[in-house]
Symmetry: C2
Amino acid sequence: MEPWQLTAAAAAVKLREGRLTAEALTRSCLERIAEREAVVKAWSFLDPVLAISSAREVDKSSVMGALHGLPIGVKDMIDTADMPTTYNSPIYQGLRQGRDAACVGVARGEGAVILGKTDTVEFAAAGRRALTRNPHDTARSPGGSSSGSAAAVADGMVPLAFGTQTGGSTIRPASFCGVYAMKPTHGVVNTEGAKRYSHTLDTIGWYGREPADLRLVAEAFRLFDLDRPLEKELQALRIGLCRGPNWHLAAAESREALMLAGQRLEAAGAVVEELALPQAFEGITEAQRVVLLGEGRGAFLQEYVAAHARLHADFRDRVENFAGISGAQLAGAYNLAAECRKLFDALFPRFDAVLTPAAVGEAPLGRQDTGNPVFNSMWTLLHVPCIAIPCTRGPHGMPVGVQIVGPRFGDAALLDVAALVASVIDAA
Amino acid sequence: MEPWQLTAAAAAVKLREGRLTAEALTRSCLERIAEREAVVKAWSFLDPVLAISSAREVDKSSVMGALHGLPIGVKDMIDTADMPTTYNSPIYQGLRQGRDAACVGVARGEGAVILGKTDTVEFAAAGRRALTRNPHDTARSPGGSSSGSAAAVADGMVPLAFGTQTGGSTIRPASFCGVYAMKPTHGVVNTEGAKRYSHTLDTIGWYGREPADLRLVAEAFRLFDLDRPLEKELQALRIGLCRGPNWHLAAAESREALMLAGQRLEAAGAVVEELALPQAFEGITEAQRVVLLGEGRGAFLQEYVAAHARLHADFRDRVENFAGISGAQLAGAYNLAAECRKLFDALFPRFDAVLTPAAVGEAPLGRQDTGNPVFNSMWTLLHVPCIAIPCTRGPHGMPVGVQIVGPRFGDAALLDVAALVASVIDAA
């Protein structure tokens, strides 16, 4: 087995025990990339010399932290002090920031090797798409906007990668690419240095190839200080199976994935109970749209004013408030979100996690359509932690995942649930 | 009259009419700074050659926007592409960011001359204080954390300056220094590129020497698109006089300022009515503390992990959660804040603005004590726009202000109220 084939968690054990070096792992990942990148196009910046030099630095020090020696890809929405950051915008080609984004700084401080920058949809929002293709079928999208991060982890190019989620940009690509991903509780991972789209929604997430990979990154961010561990066995779990207000938009394969996941959990001894969300949730998808567009208005004003001609029309529309969002509408959306957050949190501890679709269906064809975020956007607005778990295959043989969701700040317990249920749900 | 003595609004007229150049105004400000800086110590970075060169660039173009030709000071918490940014932290000495913070980019795009960086409390939070002194009495604090910005505007060094407010860092220094300041609705001005302290609270604000100055900056940020103008005369105004839940902490001079402002408004024909906030507001100050500390936990993790020894103990404590804030407490604080925001918004249009203290009292003696933010922190958590207005003098002859507060997204109407009431309240 080549080192690039190891999951982050498996590599971490070898690294700690001295049976693998950061340099060897990094070189192996670079070899995998050299072999596959022409087809997958996951990376917007990669400097093998720099990556190997970073790995050597890590090898020189004693174990630095939870991510010691692990290569990690960084979505090109997120600043890096030693690599350019473009946000996939023509305005920021060649941009060199003076310091790392907060999440990159933490990862580096915890011993990670920043491998390179992964391609993204412009400003992780709209406009230009990533060049990245889905490793399972290069005619299809890996999803967006964390296109390169999801594809790189799925294809074995790197064991971990950072994404961001404002609508469904972390969890949806995980479903499309057949990998695991975590979107933590909003705000617990500092978004500083990630280009802003919507301050109420923007969340740093990450990808791995098993639940224990996600846990390593969560440890680096000290998410375990906020919550108590689950301390339950699989048979004692109570899972709320939630179709949610957008079920009518789910393709057959996503409906099947949810039912299959529920059946597998029941068969394994967990209690699975249908969960109908309260009436207030009927407006939550629209509230997310109002927040997204209302906040996008201010988020791209800098580029609108300072680099108007190079700003994609999608963003000029937002600054000009083409959707006509009023302050009153925005306040109303905030109020509804706050109400629904409280209602959702109150479902716990009746449930240990909520099981719900991760995407509409399989990855779409082509590069322009990165998929519909409708099964993610409400959870992003609710600020709750979400973990994507691969589940089945769709009619074209593409991966289809589900996600489990916990209450705000229930990140640690949700990771415990993921560790218990993943091998049951992910029976592929 | 020297150009530096002009308010921003007065200078803007001359600049637009070609009766003043950005270079002449910038040079005049630099002369004022040369004369006063040794005593006031407002600036942490100032390069006269760079400032004059920026002014010349502005003079070369046709009118660029709302801030055409106006020098502006930038709190050294906020990134600038052409000047170092330190956040007053030993970790970031000499930091050069590759791009401007969003607010700086907008100001520059609207024609402002970025004059220099103003001194701040470390990370606008705790640790090291600014070296800045209060121009009215150099034995006293200008307040914090926007110490340099408030003092520089008060002392005529620059007509406008950016601050930030997480607790009371914009409005309180305005009261202490006898200037005007605006903290807009949370989120309407992109905080990207300002060092994060608390994403729920961090707000970019600005200083001027008359209400029309504040309006110019609000125009640059398109705050007028969100709200309808007031379209009322002074005699038709209904003002809610609000002692608030922390009245017992107000010094005699702040109590007097509030009463005086109310009396002056009544004498001028406005309706002033006592406003008792609903019961829920009793917990709002504590909720702000929980949010501040709970979010500070993640905000400084990067520095904790990557530069532990150079991070002030105040921040190490936060990362280690010395206050023991749990996820449940934080969610509870968010829920209460959301409830109070809704309740407060509902007071309008019964009132046109709420009048309330801006600070506990006069500026404290010395450099270590930057004053208590208790009359600001609840409004910051409520996300509502606040405008500081000078009102009277305290027992030591120091300025004492008040503030007017509007509903979320009522920034435009609140500026209209300020334009009507300022000359009545500010009778000094």
